[in-house]
């Protein structure tokens, strides 16, 4: 088979992509293991986080999941207009752009990927696997923007902030890659919040939702809302995190800014705990301070109002009990492949006007 892009039958395409994913994970050639080793050796990510990400891929990607995603996202007739899609991958988590890569392949579009210098090996090993199987697949990738053989892009996908987005668009304009009809899909959500009922248990799940990837993902919980006393929640999280941190010891020391903030909390007699690389504190919810997780005594309505008032900054709302509009807390770091960053279905965007 020369290329996924010429396969119009979505069932076949989904089947082949899931087979490629399994081939990559089974790693007979050692390509993935080499990528994992380099990633860990260069201190890009903790090995535990990389293995977690790969395990999640194995658990969540199969033919049915891809088909289900496609069917939920795409409607319309079957005319094909293949587009050039530029993906600019951030490197804050291992394989953070994997959903985008799969979405482009599943949609049958051409993939042009700028891999992050902070995560260059893992996605590259997958793309190399795709290229080996489909030798004529139109996929191009590099860590150097200028090495990507793109003329104009129809769609560009990336994550950013108010500060970073203008710089990125300037760089793309300088390269002449944007045209008036280029669709820009820019994700700006930075953190997530959770409603937590202690009586329902699932402390391990809350711990993972907070501490996985050092809390750096947009799906990581930055604010915990609860009807219980925050001091008790902090204590229980600290206890639960002990075993988590034994298996996943943080590599770096706490940031000096967090030590300073901890000293301030001690001064004003606010309940707080330094756990791993993070500072967990009782009090009003706060999203802007890197490394800080707040625990707030509130109602569900107050949490929802906070989400509303925070606008585009909050990615997801979770709960460990059944609460309308909340995702299960267990899916914080293990989302289905069809999850929608910033509430947008990337597969629908890529296939819009296409089918």
């Amino acid at each position: 088979m020369k290329s996924l892009q010429i396969i119009l039958n979505i069932e076949k395409r989904a089947e082949l992509i899931s087979e490629i994913v399994n081939l990559w994970l089974d790693d007979d050639s050692g390509l993935l293991e080499a990528a994992v080793e380099k990633t860990a050796k260069e201190g890009l990510f903790q090995r535990g986080d990389v293995i977690f990400a790969l395990n999640h891929v194995r658990e969540s990607i199969n033919k049915d999941a891809l088909l289900d995603w496609f069917r939920k996202s795409v409607s319309g007739s079957n005319s094909v207009q293949v587009k050039d899609v530029l993906c600019l991958h951030a490197g804050n988590l291992p394989l953070v752009g994997f959903q985008d890569i799969l979405a482009v392949l599943l949609s049958g579009n051409r993939y042009f990927g700028k891999l992050s210098r902070k995560d260059p090996y893992l996605p590259a090993s997958f793309l190399q696997t795709v290229q080996k199987i489909f030798k004529e697949e139109k996929i191009y990738w590099s860590v150097n923007l200028h090495e990507i053989p793109l003329e104009k892009t129809d769609i560009v996908l990336f994550s950013g902030s108010d500060k970073s987005v203008p710089n990125v668009l300037d760089a793309l304009n300088e390269l002449g890659w944007l045209h008036p009809k280029t669709k820009k899909v820019i994700r700006t959500a930075h953190a997530s919040v959770a409603w937590f009922e202690p009586k329902a248990g699932s402390w391990d799940t809350l711990t993972e939702a907070i501490f996985r990837y050092d809390g750096k993902g947009c799906r990581s919980v930055a604010c915990v809302f609860t009807s219980a006393e925050p001091a008790m929640i902090l204590q229980k999280i600290a206890e639960s995190a002990e075993s988590y941190l034994e298996e996943n010891p943080p590599e770096n020391k706490t940031l000096p800014a967090l030590d300073f903030r901890g000293a301030y909390n001690f001064a004003i007699q606010k309940d707080f705990k330094n756990i791993g690389n993070l500072l967990l504190e009782a009090g009003a919810p706060e999203l802007k301070k890197d490394g800080v997780v707040t625990v707030t005594k509130a109602t569900i309505e107050e949490m929802k109002a906070f989400r509303q008032n925070s606008g585009h900054v909050i990615q997801s709302m979770y709960s460990n009990v059944d609460v309308p509009d909340c995702e299960p807390l267990s899916e914080a770091q293990r989302p289905p492949i069809s999850w929608k960053p910033d509430g947008e279905d990337v597969l629908r965007i890529l296939t819009n006007e296409m089918f």
Partner: protein, 325 residues
């Protein structure tokens, strides 16, 4: 220590700071706990460059000072329902001295009458700015200094009387209040007048650069742009810094400003690097002299500039950075 030693020019800043530091470690529990957590104590007095600076939010989040023996209670401005900072001032003479000596350090105040364009003291008894302006008004023996009526033009007869007394005029007010006055009731002030504006350059209604503001005030009141000055102060401070038209602020001898690294506020940044404004205000003897503000600033020698509020770079979540990724 004798509080008035703070203003004694024969004692060095470092010596005064050491006395204040020891005093506050003993008498200010919030600051003591803060230093304890940072492993700083009276056995190793830090120098001004590395002394721990307590975030000013502490005036909102805790009790700083002595409410039971306070002469005055200043509160920060804010909307209803918002928790405000409270500064308990135990010794009103310290504040009065700081205001008058601070102003005299930069201006020949006996030459000036003060026209203050802010709400009056009776409407805002908890405003440190308005208390300060009242102090300046009361210090003028001509009786011509006063709070101006809001939304009314400046009485030209009053301006004439000030000139007759051979006094110069200082028009003092909040930045956007003065701008409103300039837009609605421009008037020619004597050419040797000075305007001093204070406060932020951003309100819910508008935002403007300081240069633009000064230009507009200069045009409306017909005085040279170089005569439009600024004052830097806050509820949490009892001392003020002043700048000429160029935006570089200077401190009186008992006030020290440093620029601290937002990633590690125990570290002072060198001249030219932007960071968080840190304050050592020795007049805050009975509250806390060592303050970390949320303002962004930069230093050059003894002078500093205020560059607005510091916005932390949110490193959380996915963020494609063109120069790092």
């Amino acid at each position: 220590m004798n509080p008035q030693d703070i203003f004694d020019p024969t004692i060095t800043f470092s010596q005064k700071m050491e006395s204040v530091f020891r005093y506050q470690l003993e008498h200010q529990p919030v600051y003591r706990r803060f230093c304890e957590a940072l492993k700083v104590d009276a056995n190793s007095i830090p120098d001004p460059e590395s002394v721990p600076l307590l975030p000013v939010e502490a005036f909102r989040d805790a009790v700083i000072g002595e409410p039971e023996s306070a002469d005055l209670e200043f509160r920060s401005s804010g909307t209803t329902g918002m928790k405000r900072s409270v500064h308990y001032v135990r010794d009103v003479s310290l504040y009065r001295t700081s205001i008058l000596e601070g102003m005299r350090y930069f201006y020949e105040t006996h030459d000036f009458s003060f026209l203050c364009y802010t709400p009056g003291y009776n409407e805002n008894p908890h405003s440190s700015l308005i208390w300060m302006l009242r102090t300046l008004i009361e210090s003028d023996k001509t009786g011509l200094s006063r709070f101006l009526k809001l939304n009314q033009p400046i009485d030209t007869e009053l301006i004439r009387k000030v000139s007759e007394k051979s006094n110069r005029l200082i028009l003092f007010g909040a930045a956007f209040g003065l701008l409103d006055l300039a837009e609605k009731h421009p008037v020619k002030l004597p050419e040797n007048s000075i305007i001093i504006e204070t406060g932020g350059m951003k309100t819910y209604r508008r935002e403007m650069s300081r240069d633009d503001l000064h230009k507009r005030l200069s045009e409306a009141f017909k005085i040279p742009e170089k005569s439009v000055h600024s004052e830097y102060g806050m509820t949490e401070m009892l001392s003020q810094a002043y700048s000429g038209n160029d935006g570089w602020f200077y401190c009186p001898p008992w006030l020290n400003v440093s620029i601290r690294d937002p990633q590690n506020p125990l570290i002072q940044l060198p001249d030219g690097e932007e960071g968080l404004l840190g304050i050592i205000d020795l007049a805050n003897l009975h509250s806390c002299s060592f303050l970390l503000t949320g303002d962004k600033g930069v230093k050059k020698g003894e002078a500093f500039q205020v560059l607005g509020r510091f916005e932390p770079e949110n490193l959380r979540g996915c963020n494609f950075l063109i120069d790092q990724d």
